[in-house]
């Protein structure tokens, strides 16, 4: 592995057992960070002494566990962690366990540490043979007892972990005793190899309201202490070494999650209709199929943007058609969602593993990426298109091509799409009748030739994140220029207005799927622009719906018309914020939220 591989973004999916999102540094939990000495006793005369040493360690271990049990509060009724400590104490008292270990010391003349290890290995053999997953997993309790005994044998004081800044705890599994000795206020979240909804980690995490993802299988082997890590306990996803774009998106998600108040959820299931009966469709932006339940719960009418990139960057080799298909089947034709807009591959070629010919670019944002890359690597592109087409009979699909900058690209993409469709039809595959094809409007040239593009497609979807950075010529990731990133810049508003007008004149639908769509301060402006669909982070939906349901199209248009006469971004922002504060004082506090 080269240095690049060590910091590559990767995703692990597990079971989200405690909701919420955290972003932080990983801390690899090591229950026993001492080297355990194994040795043969030099003299048979030492055997009795060694047995006494073992018994003392048992006694000390038990005493520590009972002390911990006293410290743990009763949490999550019924499944309280105390009983797990009881189980561990019973293992320490298990006569057979003790006898076997003593027998090992006597007969094999090994030290107590070694003797305990031999006993545990015997149990491991027994447990490994069990058919029942749950029982097989109980070997972890025996190993826990072992580690506890060995820690006392080795004589290392188990001081509370000193973790400095707040960390995301990474472990194979955590027992309540482990969590009890952590400085729990220093723990941001948990990610563990094993476990399920009722595992110890899950129970403890929920009782502490800390996000947790368990059942990640090998997270302890893929993450090192101090790695950047995101834990999304709601979706059951862990992202390691998030690139700046992903990180920023998750910072938004985190903020939205924390802001989401229960009373706002009342708005989730209500239609997005203004008081004067103007209705807007609401889409949810997702990148993992695990986010679909949240999209539905927060009131998405459909999936307005399914980012398929993680199908590519989440793995060592390229996704097969079946890999795509498995995911798309969970997105298309889902009960409660009227449509799914799938955006084809939207990354640079550098995201392809092992593929050295697509070397680093000096300016990847303007490089060979998204549709440009797909049109060069047609075979790769076709794999994704075939999977999309194969799932199209299952429900309403909109296919969206990213980063279209001119008419040739959309024509070529459509030609390849038709080619794949015809191949599948010839093979007798059933294909949906009403697949719509659209383009992301995110390159300024696409806005300028929107008239021509509209003739080629069924819909536009405005990707404001990229459109803003391209039109204002700023790199969003460059902190020195982020102050220039301004969705309310008059140039941006005029571009959007133009796209909507051209789209509607041509009789096609115009959506917005950038972050701008989910910002409630802009909702009235977007209503005034008469976008057909606003697609956003699902967590943002309830608040945006609340604004939509509280306004009228008439006043929104009046607000828009007013700001379109203003010359600077600053004037527009000041005006819009003041107007929104006045109109929705509860939602927009005067301190600039």
């Amino acid at each position: 592995m080269g240095p690049d591989d060590l910091t590559k973004t990767f995703v692990r999916k597990g079971i989200g057992v405690s909701p919420g999102i955290v972003i932080g540094k990983a801390y690899l939990f090591d229950r026993l960070d001492t080297q355990v000495p194994f040795y043969k006793l030099s003299d048979p005369g030492l055997i009795d002494e060694e047995i006494q040493r073992f018994r003392r360690a048992l006694g000390e271990s038990e005493r520590q566990l009972l002390e911990l049990k006293g410290k743990l509060s009763d949490v999550d009724g019924g499944m309280d962690p105390q009983y797990i400590i009881d189980v561990h104490v019973m293992i320490l008292r298990d006569q057979k366990f003790i006898d076997r270990t003593i027998q090992n010391i006597r007969e094999m003349s090994v030290n107590a540490e070694w003797a305990v290890r031999i006993t545990v290995e015997k149990y491991r053999e027994l447990f490994d043979r069990m058919d029942d997953d749950y029982l097989r997993g109980r070997i972890s309790d025996i190993q826990y007892a072992e580690q506890r005994i060995v820690a006392n044998l080795v004589g290392k004081k188990r001081a509370a972990l000193d973790m400095g800044e707040k960390v995301v705890m990474i472990a194979a599994d955590l027992s309540p005793a482990d969590t009890a000795q952590m400085k729990i206020d220093r723990v941001l979240g948990f990610a563990t190899d094993i476990g399920g909804k009722t595992s110890h980690t899950a129970i403890v995490a929920r009782s502490l309201a800390i996000p947790a993802v368990v059942g990640l299988e090998n997270i302890t082997r893929s993450v090192r202490t101090n790695d950047d890590i995101i834990v999304d306990g709601t979706a059951g996803v862990v992202i390691v070494h998030p690139d700046p774009e992903v990180r920023r998106r998750y910072e938004d998600k985190k903020r939205l999650y924390e802001e989401a108040e229960d009373d706002l959820l009342d708005y989730a299931r209500l239609p997005a209709v203004t008081k004067d009966n103007y209705s807007v469709e609401i889409g949810g932006n997702i990148e993992f199929i695990e986010e679909i339940p949240s999209a539905i719960a927060h009131g998405a009418d459909g999936i307005g943007l399914y980012r398929t990139e993680f199908l590519y960057i989440n793995r060592e080799e390229l996704p097969s058609e079946e890999d795509h298909l498995v995911n798309y089947r969970s997105v298309v034709g889902v009960k409660g969602l009227a449509w799914a807009t799938i955006r084809t591959f939207d990354l640079g070629g550098d995201k392809f593993f092992k593929d050295q010919k697509h070397c680093r670019e000096l300016n990847p944002q303007l490089g060979l990426r998204a549709i440009r890359f797909c049109l060069k690597e047609v075979d790769l592109f076709k794999i994704q298109l075939r999977a999309i087409l194969r799932v199209s009979a299952k429900g309403k699909i909109r296919v969206m091509f990213p980063m279209i900058s001119g008419i040739e690209e959309i024509r070529e993409a459509k030609r390849i799409f038709a080619e794949v469709r015809d191949e599948l039809l010839a093979k007798g595959e059933s294909i949906g009748k009403d697949i719509e094809i659209g383009v992301m409007i995110e390159v300024p040239s696409a806005v300028i030739v929107a008239e021509e593009l509209a003739k080629e497609v069924d819909f536009f979807s405005i990707g404001t994140n990229d459109l803003i950075q391209y039109v204002l010529a700023i790199d969003r990731i460059n902190e020195r220029v982020t102050y220039l990133y301004e969705p309310l810049h008059p140039a941006v508003l005029r571009l959007i207005k133009h796209v909507v007008e051209v789209g509607h004149r041509s009789g096609i639908r115009v959506a917005m799927c950038g972050e701008m769509a989910g910002e409630p301060a802009y909702t009235m402006i977007l209503l005034g622009l008469e976008l057909d669909e606003l697609s956003m982070n699902p967590l943002a939906i309830p608040r945006v719906k609340k604004i939509i349901r509280g306004s009228t199209l008439k006043e929104s248009k009046a607000l828009l018309n007013k700001v379109m006469t203003l010359a600077s971004a600053q004037e527009i922002r000041t005006y819009v914020e003041a107007a929104m504060q006045k109109r929705f004082p509860e939602e927009f506090q005067a301190n600039g939220q």
């Binding site: 009983y83 797990i84 009881d86 293992i91 298990d94 025996i142």
Partner: protein, 89 residues
């Protein structure tokens, strides 16, 4: 005094760690020796690891043998515990 009785395990999850812990706790309340047997394998009723290695899912038949002055009371306690599905579903 010796008592012996066979039970069917009827709780949904069978003899998992918590149930095993309850069996051990019950055995510890009496002076009598307690043995649990399934499919010809017998283990000490005070050994949690022994009980777990018996592997008793729902529907298993578990024989309890108590031996000692309070064998009768011990058996009554085991009957209540097992027939009450260990307080589970």
């Amino acid at each position: 005094m010796v008592e012996k009785k066979t039970f069917e395990i009827t709780n949904q999850l069978g003899v998992h760690a918590r149930v095993a812990a309850k069996l051990v706790e019950t055995a510890n309340r009496f002076q009598a020796e307690v043995f649990l047997e399934k499919d010809g394998v017998e283990v000490d009723g005070r050994s949690i690891l022994g009980i777990l290695t018996l592997v008793c899912p729902r529907g298993s038949r578990l024989t309890v043998r108590t031996e000692g002055v309070d064998a009768g009371e011990a058996m009554a306690a085991f009957s209540r515990l097992i027939e009450d599905k260990f307080g589970e579903k």
